[in-house]
Symmetry: C2
């Protein structure tokens, strides 16, 4: 198991992330990181390789990101084509269906990468934490905003227990299909799952 090669002395100060790079340059870096990640996997990825591929100094990379886990999680977050924040159709069912419509492409592109990262994160607590902080929590926050709107509209009872498990139901939809049926979750399947599982569990069917 390889750990990040970042020097430890600036571990905390680097936490304050101030972008000195142009958005274009940042985007280039993010894309290079994902490219490398696809080629060599998380454990094989080094800050040296990222520096070489992007013609940056390692100092720049460490100034910009806390370390390898954060760099990878940030690259994933910023190249994600779908963010839940933008979705507000006026109904819970509409919002959930809109997420499915927007996310299919993203899922197909990323699934191999994410599978590899999920596996790597079991042996790399720093990566696990970075993925949770930078990638998973923001999506959960956005999902909760969407659910709170549904509660405010009276579509879901405020004390409905399934409100705590929407992410779990969604995970199940994505993971069980390849596992059980050997197929990728497609739009038809996901839209059906929303009506069969998520809305009834929330008492919003």
């Amino acid at each position: 198991m390889r750990t990040t090669d970042r020097p430890t002395e600036d571990r905390d100060t680097a936490r304050v992330r101030r972008s000195r790079l142009s958005p274009e340059r940042e985007r280039e870096l993010h894309e290079a990181v994902l490219e490398l990640l696809g080629e060599v996997g998380y454990d094989g990825l080094t800050m040296d390789a990222v520096a070489a591929r992007t013609r940056s100094s390692k100092a720049t990379l460490y100034r910009q990101w806390k370390g390898k886990p954060q760099l990878v999680a940030t690259a994933l977050r910023h190249t994600k084509p779908v963010l839940l924040e933008g979705i507000d159709t006026g109904s819970l069912r509409g919002d959930l269906r809109e997420i499915v419509r927007c996310s299919e492409q993203a899922h197909e592109r990323d699934s191999g990468l994410m599978r590899g990262l999920a596996h790597a994160s079991h042996d790399n607590p720093d990566l696990h934490e970075a993925l949770r902080e930078l990638l998973i929590y923001p999506e959960i926050d956005a999902l909760n905003v969407l659910l709170r709107r549904a509660v405010d509209r009276g579509e879901i009872a405020p004390d409905r227990p399934a409100l705590n498990y929407v992410v779990h139901m969604v995970c199940g939809a994505f993971i069980a299909r390849p596992l059980v049926e050997g197929r990728q979750p497609d739009q038809t399947y996901l839209l059906e799952y929303i009506d069969a599982v998520i809305l009834p569990a929330l008492g919003a069917a």
Copy 2:
């Protein structure tokens, strides 16, 4: 990526699995396979190593199992301490709670192993197929028997859409908790999930 080292000429005939080993000897073999699997992982596991560890000939192994994927899946199936078949408490909620009570130990013991295998199965279609056939489908069949009894008792409407997605909801419970909360699913959590998600989705709450 390593493929099975089994000779191809007996690929189909070996499919007919006739046990010439005593149950004790079979059990020994299964335990040795899981031991080796924990040590070297699926890709590192060879039939030679299994033969050496168990003091068997490779011919015996191939006569008994179709190949490495089937040997591994069978070993997992036969050392599983919980089988759904035995569970029948008289109510759906009781059956589901009984599964949770029996399965916690099993999950903790196997989770690392199963995670490794889930990852390996993405690159090894034969393993994926063997796990599905020998490990996942029998459990799904047993789960469906349990659900059919609930339908027959009138606890679930026969055309309830969520009936097709119970496995998916269960997968979500197990996978989302470590991913999102960084914690293993424990009994309290799983029992709550049954009441919050599975029973309401089935209209059986």
